[in-house]
């Protein structure tokens, strides 16, 4: 019911609106030529001034701004590219330097090692020679001692035996005869004592 009244009121109000429009309607103001000349005059004036100001002053500035921004951006991109290339080159250089210095360090190390080894070898040779010499000398000395030892022993034996005989017998015995006996004994037993 309420709905019906609502739509009826809408429907009737359309009639009233139509009537009021019909009463006041005086056709299209656009077709009234009273102000046509005025409109044409003001249109030409305002549009003309706007066109002149835009085309002479404002639009060139905007296009200038756009161009300069474009060129600046391009420049910046170029500069960035260049810097990247530079840094790439520097990185390469740096890598090269590092690898080079590594090689150098290696070679220096090797050289030092070789030198040290050489030094050690030379010193060892010298020492070996010295040792050999000393050994040879000692052997010589030993040999000499060994050679002299039987004579000394013989001498001691002769003196001792002559003194013994003198004390035992009380008579002077000829040294030469004792030495002949000692020589004979030592020749017979020498191998036993010296092991030669």
């Amino acid at each position: 019911m309420v709905k019906k009244i609502y739509f009826q009121s809408i429907f009737f109000s359309f009639f009233f609106i139509k009537e009021s429009f019909a009463a006041e309607s005086g056709g299209m103001p656009q077709l009234n030529p009273e102000f046509w000349v005025s409109q044409i005059f003001w249109l030409i004036l305002t549009f003309g001034i706007m066109y002149l100001v835009l085309s002479k002053l404002i639009l060139p500035k905007i296009s200038n701004n756009l161009e300069s921004r474009k060129s600046q951006i391009l420049e910046n991109i170029e500069a960035a590219e260049k810097q990247r290339e530079d840094s790439d080159a520097k990185l390469k250089e740096y890598d090269e330097i590092i690898s080079k210095s590594k090689l150098e360090a290696n070679s220096i190390f090797n050289q030092a090692r070789e030198k040290a080894l050489k030094d050690i070898g030379a010193k060892r040779e010298v020492l070996d020679e010295q040792i050999d010499n000393e050994i040879a000398e000692a052997e010589k000395e030993i040999d000499a001692l060994r050679k002299n030892a039987p004579d000394k022993i013989n001498k001691i034996a002769i003196e001792t035996s002559s003194e013994l005989l003198q004390k035992l017998i009380g008579a002077e015995v000829n040294n030469s005869s004792i030495s002949a006996i000692v020589d004979d004994l030592s020749k017979r037993n020498g191998d036993k004592y010296y092991g030669n």
Partner: protein, 244 residues
Amino acid sequence: MAANPMSQFDVYRIGPEIKVGAFDISFTNASLFMILSTVSILLIFNIGSKKNSILPNKIQLLAELSYTFVSKMISDTAGSKAKPYFAFIFSLFMFVLFCNMFGMIPYTFTVTSHIIVTFVLAAFIFIGVTVIGFIKHGFGYLKLFVPSGVPAVLLPLIVVIEIISYLSRPISLSVRLFANMMAGHTMMKVFGGFVISLGVVGGWLPLSFSVALTGLEILVAFLQAYVFAILTCIYLNDALNLHH
């Protein structure tokens, strides 16, 4: 009263009557809104072009986006030869756009809803394009009316149709803009009138229509300015690059 949806298109004098000879060039509400539109265009684009920063602020961005938008529209439709006419088409587009948009504010006057205004613009474009065509191609411009690849029997008919369509360009151009603006504003006024007459009970339906129509009309205001400018570009293209 304001209930008449056509009363919004009334032109009335503001200030005294100015007469030059037999012509009445009084300052009217139409003149006021023409001046408002042009002044706001000049103001916005002047501020937008003043500072040249790499990162543009909002107004600069607005100015530069409009510039590139119109510039792209021209180069897409009329090619690179149309570059000298860029300033004119830019002004035309901005003028129509701002007049249309000013009309969307309540209690304002829509300059472009008057046939005489749109017709003067369209006639100027028509005459200008025709003059450019004859300057560029001499009488060869008349080849525009003789499309290639048409059988000889049909040729007289086609030529007549082409001439009529060419001559009707200013009319179609001006009536399209004027009729769109007038119809849209009339419709909005009618729905607004319904809201008042139906009151609190029944007014909600036309009110919602009115809201939707406002959005639609803003779209139409932009679209008609765009259509006006792009048709100008197409006519200019015919005159500059004659290949039919």
